[in-house]
Amino acid sequence: MVPLGLLLGVIVAYPLGYSLWLSLTDRRIVGSKDATFVGLDQYAGLLDNAAYGVAMRNTIVFVVVAVTLELVLGLALAMALQRQRRARDLTRAFLLTPMFVTPIAVGLMFRFLLNEQLGAIPAILDNVGLDIDFFGPTLALPTIIAIDVWQWTPFMVLLLLAGLESLPRQPFEAARVDGASAWMTFRRVTLPLLKPAIGIAVLLRALDAFKVFEYVFATTRGGPGDATETIQYQIYRTGFQFFRIGEAAAMAFVLIAVVLVLATILYRRFLRPEASA
């Protein structure tokens, strides 16, 4: 217990405590002024900070839409894969590859794949008479969501497939004997039994999606205007580009609060023992 406590103290509590302290000061890396204690001023400042609100809204839209799409696609793919008979390993390995590319490379890849003059995708669309402004004001956020779906649906597939394959066979046989339709079996048997696996998958994916940074950095830098500003990109700029460490720490702590609330809700809905009963 003592070594574990010590380790947690060093790697979790100390940095967290230090950044909490920073968020209560006006600490900056450059500039002539020394840091002073400002209480909750940084947090109060965020309330007036319209850009922070926009970034929070964009981030939540991003997380909800991306994770929902990934769940639906992932579940469909996992169920298809479970029934597959031939070349299972090959298909699975192939489907999982996007996950193993580093996100910044994925961002850069799509930046050029979707480039009007140099990219393959607009060239193909052009042949069928389509002209899509992927990084324009209306589609920039959906495009970044689509990049996330491309990269992380395989993660959902992986977790849900493992969940599906560990389900007991009896309930399914009973359903078949009772003459339940495929849809009824899915809704009344598969989904309830799979709930814990779905909960874990959604929770992990949502926590990860809140960290979205690389795609924005590689493609739009938060533009056009503020259409793709996300929290992590804003924290990065405030802290490491503009060097206002205190303000960036406050931004991060508000994000932690939002994430904790979301995680608690998900946990209660999907993972508490009585919830899965």
Binding site: I29, V30, G31, S32, R111, N115, E116, Q117, L118, P122, D131, I132, D133, F134, F135, G136, P137, A140, F217, T219, T220, R221, G222, G223, P224, G225, D226, A227, R237, F240, Q241, F242, F243
Partner: protein
């Protein structure tokens, strides 16, 4: 290996460096760890290292080249570390004021004065001005990236056009050359630094300015509105479609792939564009319309916590003296000394008289995007509004007044 050597160099620091303002640079020794950007100008410096090694066998220069986006974080981490990562850094012009004011950079006046025949006045005036903060010189110029019009000579000749000298002429030329699969002009409207860097040339052409002489923001002007409207018109009429998130990379690839006829970009792209690709040799350089360009430049700065200040200065003073500057520019480096741009030998062995005299004219009155504290953030807040206006999310009028207001707030922070 690096670490041990650097540590040795660093041990005697406190006592030796304090008194080396006038020390003979030839006596320097040890390792000098340098951070640089992954650009052609860095490659040229790397190629000159063996010559430096011959002149200073005791100084071992180790260059780490990184992409631009990673550099500033690393440099600042090294400034703050008790054991620095870098003994010599390159400084981008928007960083200069903040770095100098925070005490991160070593003042260089005494070291510069101690070298006979260095001729510091020979560095182009606008570049020297950037490196001087409150009357103290904190860096020496490395290479300039003032903006210029890089255009396809062959297409201009075929259409009977002359390089544009005003925004109206630029608009007309871009529209005229916008045909078939080739756009009239490639632009870089990406949010933040990129669009501001490009649009500033439009602003100067319209007669506007970014800051007043006292440093306050002067953006809220009819000229700024005219410049932004011209930028938007040219983007809509003649830039490649759907290029709202384009930055330097896309624009340069577009012209080099014969998909655009011209662009406003760094003057040093000309030798690169003319060296490779199907269109090599077809590109020429002109001053931006209006003749006053946005100025960017890289400088050599010695961190205040450098473990080998003498070694760093030995390298910098060698590389930036007149003789080596000439070698560097002939090899393709972007010039910073007035004398080298007037040197007939440089014209002959480099890229010709026209190129160097054009660069000299560009540098005469080029002006940086920001001067003063929080420059990086100021550039970003203006660039966000400009990009929103091009995207049609805000009006020109609103974008300019918001940009001016937020820029002033940023300077006052």
């Amino acid at each position: 290996m690096t670490l041990t050597l650097a540590a040795c160099g660093g041990d005697g620091d406190g006592s030796t460096n304090a008194s080396t303002g006038s020390a003979d640079a030839g006596a320097a020794s040890g390792t000098v760890r340098v951070i640089m950007e992954e650009v052609p100008d860095t490659d040229i410096v790397k190629e000159m290292l063996p010559a430096f090694q011959q002149a200073h066998p005791d100084v071992d220069v180790q260059i780490e080249a990184l992409p631009y986006d990673q550099m500033r974080d690393r440099i600042v981490s090294s400034f703050l570390a008790s054991d620095p990562t870098y003994d010599l850094i390159v400084v981008d012009n928007p960083w200069m004021h903040d770095f100098a004011q925070a005490g991160f950079l070593e003042p260089l006046d005494d070291r510069i004065a101690a070298i006979d025949g260095y001729d510091h006045e020979d560095f182009s005036q606008p570049l020297r001005d950037i490196a001087s903060v409150d009357g103290t010189t904190y860096a020496v110029p490395f290479y300039n990236y003032a903006l210029a019009l890089v255009y396809r000579k062959d297409l201009y000749e075929k259409a009977g056009l002359e390089p544009p000298t005003s925004l109206e002429e630029l608009k007309a030329a871009a529209a005229e050359l916008n045909e078939g699969g080739r756009a009239g002009i490639a632009m870089q409207p990406q949010k933040g630094y990129k669009i501001f860097e490009e649009w500033a040339n439009y602003l100067f052409a319209a007669g506007g300015k970014i800051q007043n002489d006292d440093g306050s923001i002067a953006l809220d002007s009819p000229e700024a509105r005219e410049a932004l409207q011209a930028y938007i018109d040219i983007y809509r009429e003649s830039a490649p479609k759907n290029s709202l998130n384009w930055a330097f990379d896309e624009a340069i690839r577009s012209v080099s792939a014969d998909k655009a006829s011209q662009l406003i970009s760094y003057n040093w792209t000309l030798p690169t564009l003319n060296a490779e690709g199907d269109q090599a040799g077809n590109f020429a350089l002109a001053e931006v319309p209006g003749g006053k360009a946005a100025l960017g430049a890289w400088f050599w700065g010695i961190p205040a916590n450098s473990a080998n200040k003498d070694g760093a200065w030995a390298f910098v003073s060698w590389l930036t003296d007149k003789a080596q500057e000439k070698e560097r520019v002939i090899a393709g480096g972007a010039p910073v000394r007035d004398s080298v741009m007037q040197d007939e030998e440089v014209w002959e062995q480099g890229f010709g008289e026209e190129y160097y005299t054009t660069v000299a004219r560009i540098l005469e009155d080029a002006a940086p995007l920001a001067n003063g504290p929080n420059a990086e953030e100021m550039i970003n807040v203006v660039g966000e509004q400009l990009n929103a206006a091009v995207a049609g999310q805000t009006s020109v009028d609103e974008a300019i007044s918001t940009a001016a207001q937020r820029a002033q707030e940023t300077l006052d922070k």
